[in-house]
Symmetry: C2
Subunit: 164 residues, 2 copies
DNA sequence: CTTAAACATTTTAGGCTTAAAATAATTTTG
DNA sequence: CAAAATTATTTTAAGCCTAAAATGTTTAAG
């Protein structure tokens, strides 16, 4: 027999406390690590996290990226990228040019200076991350990777359901 | 016999690619979910995520909280809280008063309006989160909780090591 | 008691961020 | 081909956020 409290047809508040707690814990971990990275980048290299993130994207793309590419990869708004790039061009870390084949498109690249500075920062950054995860076993790392991949897919599908 | 490439005494770049990938995946998940929550809060209730987060803290504290408490709990800077609170007092969602026993301290609470509006939003918010995690099994959820708890502790210890 | 230290908050300066509207260029379509 | 739709980027307005300095208050130490 099915109790009323177990009936799905009767639209009633279900208990999602576990998922909520999980989300808060995920957010806490990210905020904690992100804040730490932010502080260390500023103290050690006088650079902001968004600038570092943008340079990280470009380091993986020797032929440059369009602003749209960057915006999608970094999951930030277009307008945000415009401002970030402006400041990094100004400081000599980025080179920006209009595409030869499509005058709407701006292609940005790391300059020699930008690449050199990024590589130095990235090497140290990697050790910070390693240190922050150092209490996890290799198995923990694998397992987290797997579960977060599943989480990502689940969230993406949910977003798709909403936006159509 | 120990090859030179396996020697630890010789300070050389170790491979932390896995931890780095893990961190990027963690960040991606959080950014994805956070962005989705942000969009839905705005579309459905015309409210920002930081305002929602602040109200969530206060909802759990019927007797109110000091600005410092809020700052610590939300893991944001003091100055940030000042501005957020200002706007929420202005809109009638928060009540702010100076502590009777310590004139440095500001105690903030949800107003009746603030509480009512928050409860409505929170109920819906919970279903969004549940939906975004809906492809995880109960076991996945438990396992993620465990691994994130471990991650949090590891990151906190790393931060402590740095700051002394 | 009085000075110094600690604490809570606000202010400041600069940068980041978003959503939405505007601009400009290209592609598609009737 | 001309109009319409799409695409890439920038601009705008408002708000978020941090680090560091400043302000005002309380507590601790001499």
């Amino acid at each position: 027999m099915m109790l009323d409290s177990e009936t799905k047809a009767v639209e009633q508040p279900e208990d999602h406390a576990d998922e909520l707690r999980l989300w808060l814990r995920l957010l806490t971990c990210t905020t904690l690590i992100e804040g730490e990275v932010r502080t260390r980048l500023r103290a050690r290299f006088d650079v902001t996290l968004p600038r570092f993130d943008l340079m990280a994207q470009l380091d993986k793309a020797p032929d440059g990226m369009t602003l749209s590419d960057v915006s999608k990869r970094m999951m930030v708004s277009n307008g945000n990228v415009t401002g970030l790039v402006e400041r990094l061009v100004e400081s000599g870390h980025l080179d920006r040019r209009t595409s030869a084949t499509d005058r709407r498109v701006q292609v940005i690249r790391l300059t020699k200076l930008g690449r050199a500075e990024f590589r130095k920062m990235a090497a140290e950054h990697e050790t910070w991350i390693a240190d922050m995860f150092s209490e996890l076993t290799p198995k923990d790392v694998r397992e987290l990777m797997r579960l977060l991949a599943k989480t990502k897919a689940s969230a993406q599908n949910s977003a798709k359901r909403r936006s159509g």
